[in-house]
Symmetry: C2
Subunit: 191 residues, 2 copies
DNA sequence: ATTGTATTAGCAACAGGTAATAATACTGGG
DNA sequence: CCCAGTATTATTACCTGTTGCTAATACAAT
């Protein structure tokens, strides 16, 4: 019965820290109405670091995560590119792209990869997508590596017609046709 | 001349902390080859808090920011919804969505808003986009409020045909037609 | 040389801990 | 009922990165 109480308290402790990771040992002790030392022992046997360490790792992890989110602007990694002709990019499907844990990736990520690649291969300082035709062939799941291949199939004036196909290691997953407008000296209107 | 050196050092200090916010006063002192006390005085007159405070606020800010990023998964804010029939969502174009400062928003954000809304109005636990036809009518710029309106125009079995139109305060900016598959008891294959 | 600002030094104290050691409290088994 | 063993609490010394205060220099211009 004494064991049970201890285990229960440690569960509670973890839960509390989940929600308020900024609590000091003192506050935790008050919350659970035990002594500070008990909290310390619990922390040790649960391998929970002290407040300052927790905060530090949170801040550090958040920094890299925010950077990752920032660089998500360029969706996927450009592997190969022949400006105005073709390009290849790779994107890894991360769990937070999926619709629910272990579910399929939300479609707009594949769209974003394809669209970004299509815009990248246009050899112009600025370009805008005009029209797109998209077909999702198979769902893509977490941790898969998606390879997008783009090719300019026609160019008429400042309009580029681009095909993009995305494959995982087995199937073709996604297919899109974009009409992209390069805005070299234009007035920035994708009419 | 002495003033100038002080001012210069304080600028440097701010710059260093920008890049490595985890430096202690001691490390900063070494970096700038002055005494720790000088660093402290500089910090006071620049109103820079101590390391621990900096880290704490970073962690705290990162928490809310990461939550915001998380909820970006649901792109845009759902304003009104009649499941299986129609829906409206609003999204604010933030500067980091644009192709370059003050440029047009990257197309996949509008696509994401539209796609998310289309999936939201399907009254099913899981749904996948099958096919989409997209047309970008006008570019959307930073700080604009985009209103997306979606309507189911036909339903055949588990296939929903959905129109989505996005407007800023003046024009229609984007238009898309989606074919979405609801996966109620299905085997999760968007063939 | 004097004045004034800039810098450096030294010391006590604090928060939020670690680590170690000792003293109690509780609880179940014989 | 007592005793062993675990759980809890208390106490103490020490650590880091500071604040706050006082005092001593350094330096440049007047």
């Amino acid at each position: 019965m004494k064991q049970a109480k201890k285990v229960r308290r440690q569960e509670l402790l973890q839960e509390i820290l989940q929600n308020n990771p900024f609590y000091t040992d003192e506050q935790l002790a008050a919350e659970l109405s035990v002594s500070v030392q008990t909290i310390r022992l619990d922390r040790i046997c649960l391998a929970i670091p002290e407040l300052r360490e927790r905060v530090k790792t949170m801040a550090a992890r958040a920094q890299v995560k925010l950077k990752a989110v920032d660089s998500r602007g360029i969706v996927g990694e450009l592997i190969d590119m022949e400006p105005g002709v073709s390009g290849i990019s790779v994107m890894r499907v991360s769990p937070d792209m999926t619709i629910s844990r272990e579910g399929a990736a939300r479609g707009h990520y594949m769209f974003a990869q394809a669209n970004t690649l299509a815009l990248a291969i246009i050899d112009a300082p600025a370009a805008l997508t005009g029209v797109a035709n998209i077909k999702y062939l198979k769902p893509a799941y977490s941790e898969e590596r998606l390879v997008a291949k783009a090719r300019v199939i026609r160019q008429r004036g400042n309009k580029y017609f681009i095909w993009v196909k995305i494959r995982n290691d087995k199937y073709e997953v996604f297919r899109a046709k974009f009409i992209v407008l390069s805005l070299v000296g234009g007035e920035g209107n994708a009419k």
